[in-house]
Every structure is written in structure tokens, then in C-alpha cells.
């Protein structure tokens, strides 16, 4: 479904990513971890066709990034939405359908249904008419997830999807994501600074720091020497916390 082959990216002549290769199978959840400035967001943006690659090849649904006939749902890393932004939750979710709408074309019945379905899936149907800027951080994140689901029910790309959320909201978000994966068979690729949470949720992890350091199942990756090398520090995982996350994700 997603394939990176020896991908390198430079910005202003400076290498940001070098020789990245991996592939992601349908229905899997891939977590991308690495220290600050490792190139995690760049990797996602390259996959979406938002930054050019300097070498290698990326395929998404067998096509070049941004050219896939099937859309990709995207939740970028972002701060809270301005309280005065003049759109309802429904307006924001409808933006996920814009690719299929022509100029001046009103939303069709199928678009309205897709929006209603996506809102129901993330438990936001009761908030559809509320201004987006007045929702809590967790609700805004769920609305953006509904927008991404409107764009694609096959592949979701999430960049720091739980940043700024407190622990209960973060856990609720991951629980929702897990139920969507089960229900729709979604493929997910997510970047997070929260190694422990992502290790508990993902089927596979890759750790990058400009180059690929390690790729494997979360248990192998978090205990690998390559992870410590990428972060250039030692980890002292609190056994209880990691076990707790593993228990939450244990039924996957």
C-alpha cells in the first residue's frame, strides 16, 4: 500500500532524510519515532506529495505521492484552531470531500451522508453544528479525524495526533483510532514524540534520525540498541507504564 525505496530528501542542499526504505501493508498501523529534527514530519509530507524527494521512489496505492486515485486522510500537527474561525464542525469535515466537488458545485447527498457517517464514527455527530473553534482540543482532534475519514477510509496519515492533549484525551483518541481500524480495516501511519504510547498502539515501529535506524515490531524496537543510538541517550522505561500501554493495546 505504501512503499519507500531508498528515499532521500534535501532542503537547501542539506540532507533531511537519506536512504529510507520500508513498506506498509494494508490494515497495519505503522508508528514513526525519532528525536526532534529527525525528519519524521518530512517523511509524512513526502508521502503526501507536499515536499519533493531528491532520490529514490515513493509509491502510495501504486502511484506517485499526491497522484493516488484513492485519497489519503491527513491530520497534520497543529495548534488549537482559532476560536473565531467562522466554520462549524460540519463545514470542516465537508472539506475532506472537496476533491470530488467542482467549482460552484453544492455538496451532493452522498457528500452529506459521508460527512454524517464520519461524524458518527468519531462520536461527534451531536457537535456538527457547533463552531469548530469552540471545541476542546480533544474534540477538535476528533473533528479533524472525521475530516480525514471523509477524504479516505483506507489510509490515514497522522502527524503528532495527540500533541497538546492530556492523558485521558490521548487515550480516548487512540481507543477511537483502534475501533476505526477494526471497523474499517484502516491502514495508519502516525508520527509521535510519545514513544511509549505509539509503541503500545502500533503494529510496527520505525525509528529514524535522518537515516533509518530500526524497523520492526514495537517490542523489538523499544528494546533495541539502534533506538538508543538514534536518540543518542539511554532510556529508562517505567515498566508499569509500558505494561499499562501494552495491556491497552494487547487485544490488537
Amino acid at each position: 500500500m505504501v512503499r519507500f525505496e531508498d528515499v532521500s530528501i534535501e532542503r537547501g542542499g542539506v540532507p533531511v532524510l537519506e536512504g529510507i526504505s520500508f513498506s506498509l501493508r494494508a490494515g497495519h498501523f505503522l508508528g514513526v519515532v525519532g528525536p526532534n529534527g529527525a525528519g519524521k514530519t518530512t517523511l509524512l509530507r513526502a508521502m503526501l506529495g507536499l515536499v519533493p524527494i531528491t532520490a529514490g521512489r515513493i509509491e502510495v496505492f501504486g502511484a506517485r505521492p499526491g497522484m493516488a486515485p484513492t485519497g489519503v486522510g491527513y491530520v497534520p500537527q497543529r495548534q488549537a484552531i482559532a476560536p473565531t474561525f467562522p466554520a462549524t464542525v460540519r463545514d470542516i469535515v465537508m472539506m475532506g470531500r472537496l476533491r470530488g466537488l467542482g467549482l460552484l458545485q453544492r455538496a451532493r447527498a452522498e457528500d452529506q451522508e459521508a460527512v454524517a457517517r464520519s461524524l458518527a464514527r468519531v462520536g461527534m455527530h451531536e457537535h456538527a453544528a457547533r463552531p469548530i473553534g469552540r471545541l476542546s482540543g480533544g474534540e477538535q482532534r476528533r473533528a479533524l479525524l472525521a475530516q480525514a475519514l471523509c477524504a479516505s477510509q483506507q489510509l490515514l496519515v497522522l502527524d503528532e495526533p495527540t500533541i497538546g492533549l492530556d492523558l485521558p484525551a490521548e487515550q480516548a483518541f487512540y481507543e477511537l483510532l483502534r475501533s476505526l481500524e477494526d471497523e474499517l480495516g484502516l491502514t495508519v501511519i502516525a508520527v509521535s514524540h510519545d514513544l511509549v504510547a505509539l509503541a503500545a498502539e502500533a503494529d510496527e515501529l520505525i525509528c529514524i534520525n535522518r537515516t533509518m535506524h530500526v524497523h520492526g515490531n514495537p517490542g523489538e524496537v523499544v528494546h533495541s540498541h539502534a533506538l538508543r543510538e538514534a536518540y543518542r541517550c539511554e532510556f529508562n522505561f517505567i515498566a508499569g507504564e509500558l505494561a499499562h500501554h501494552e495491556r491497552i493495546g494487547g487485544d490488537r
Binding site: L50, G66, T84, P86, A87, D91, G96, L98, L103, P131
Partner: protein, 265 residues
């Protein structure tokens, strides 16, 4: 006052420009383009002066020049070496200085210059009114056609781009639209004050309504109302028309602020 043909033309122009500025002002306020609008409007003076010196239609040369300045600001901004306000400051002051120098080469330049700086809507001709109406209709049509993607970009450029929207082209189109609207409005309130009609009605509307549909409707309504009431006030009290329109618009903003200072509920 409506028995005078010049007042009929002035009222018609005020309504057209008020509606167009109110509609485009929605995006000017939402995307924080107020300063770039000031830069473009002052730059238009340079283009108008080129037209007068070269014997070409001043509004047409003003429009071409303002569009060129808007695209120049966008191009330098994209390179990212300078902050946006610095880029605008350079274009704005350089173009305006060029305009003043060119005007000074003309005999009796002060009257012409003042007309373009502060507006001269009472002197508007039938031909100019038709040009304004055609330009206004084109601007509103373009805005309506591109409204959904422009609104999406205002929400989040990166998501919009990831979902296949031509973000660069649409941002450029918005700047071109802004430049054209500014030049259309120069005859009403002048290059110095046109920015007020792009910002104040939309800012007032944001105090009354939380949704984009209502904000657009209120903004265009307030833009047109400011034009009509300002002109009536100017006629009744023998005041400068352009400045009166802006003062009425400002007054409506402060009424909105007093009544709805906490914003829409």
C-alpha cells in the same frame, strides 16, 4: 439629492464597491491580509501616475501595476529571506514615491493626486461606473467560484494542499483579486482609505456572527450601507465623500463593538 445624476452615479458606485469590498474583506480579515492590502492600495498610486503621464487609462494602468506589485510581494515572500511586513514596506513606499514623482511632473498635479489619494466619487462618469460594475461583477463571480477552496486554505493550507487543492495558484488569485478590487475602490474613497472598506465591515461582521455565511452577508451589507449613508452624510453636511464613507463604516464598527464586544454567542 437623488435628482442629481452625479449623486445617482455616486450611490451606485458606493453600493457596488461596498459589496465587493465587504465580500473580499471576509478573506482579508480571516487570512490577516490587511497590511498587504495597504501595500497594494498605496502602490496603485504609482500605476495610476504612469497612466496619466503616458496618456493611458489611469485605472487600467493602476490595476496592472497593483497586480504586478501583489505578485512581486508574493514572489519575494515565497523566497523567505525577508519578513512579509518588510517586503510590503519596500514595495509600498517605493511605488507610492514613484507615483508622487510622476504626478509632480504634471501641471496641476495636486488636484489629480488628491483625487486618487482620497477619492473623487462625485466626479465619476457613466463610463467609469460601467467599468466599476463590470469589474465588481467579475470579482464577486471569481470569489464565488473559488470560495470553497479559498475557505479550505484559510483553515489549513497544508491539509488543503494534501487534498489536491492548487494552493499556490489560489493564493496568487486571491492577491490579484485584492489588487483589482482596490483599484476599483480608489475612485470611491481613494488609495489611502480603500483599505478601510476591506477591513472594517468584515471585522464588524465577525462581531455579529460565528458562521461564514452570516459573516459574508453582514459584511457585504455593512459595506454597502457605509457607502450609502456616508455619501448621504457628505451631501447633507458638505463633507469629503470618501472620508465620510469610511467614518460611517468606523462608526458602525464601534456600535458593533459596543453591542457585541464579546463576539457572537
Amino acid at each position: 439629492m437623488l435628482e442629481f445624476a452625479f449623486m445617482q452615479r455616486a450611490f451606485a458606485a458606493a453600493v457596488v464597491i461596498g459589496v465587493v469590498c465587504g465580500a473580499l474583506g471576509f478573506f482579508v480579515v480571516l487570512r490577516r491580509l490587511a497590511f498587504i492590502g495597504v501595500g497594494i492600495s498605496h502602490s496603485a498610486i504609482g500605476g495610476v501616475a504612469i497612466g496619466i503621464v503616458a496618456g493611458l487609462p489611469p485605472l487600467a494602468t493602476g490595476a496592472v501595476f497593483a497586480v504586478a506589485v501583489a505578485l512581486g510581494i508574493a514572489a519575494v515572500r515565497r523566497r523567505g529571506a525577508l519578513s512579509e511586513d518588510a517586503v510590503i514596506g519596500v514595495f509600498f513606499s517605493g511605488s507610492m514615491a514613484l507615483g508622487v514623482v510622476l504626478f509632480s511632473l504634471q501641471r496641476g498635479y495636486q488636484q489629480d493626486l488628491f483625487g486618487y489619494l482620497f477619492g473623487d466619487v462625485l466626479a465619476i462618469s457613466n463610463g467609469e461606473l460601467l467599468t466599476l460594475a463590470a469589474g465588481g461583477a467579475a470579482a464577486v463571480t471569481a470569489l464565488a467560484l473559488a470560495f470553497r477552496p479559498l475557505f479550505f486554505i484559510a483553515f489549513d493550507e497544508e491539509i488543503a494542499q494534501a487534498y489536491g487543492q492548487p494552493v499556490g495558484a489560489l493564493n496568487t488569485a486571491l492577491l490579484v483579486l485584492l489588487a483589482v478590487t482596490i483599484v476599483i475602490g480608489v475612485r470611491l474613497v481613494g488609495a489611502i482609505l480603500i483599505e478601510a472598506l476591506l477591513v472594517i465591515p468584515a471585522a464588524s461582521a465577525a462581531l455579529w456572527a460565528a458562521g461564514w455565511r452570516a459573516q459574508l452577508a453582514i459584511s457585504t451589507g455593512l459595506g454597502a450601507a457605509s457607502g450609502v449613508l456616508g455619501l448621504a452624510l457628505a451631501f447633507a453636511l458638505d463633507l469629503a465623500a470618501g472620508a465620510s464613507i469610511v467614518l460611517v463604516s468606523t462608526g458602525l464598527f464601534f456600535v458593533s463593538l459596543a453591542l457585541r464586544g464579546r463576539g457572537p454567542t
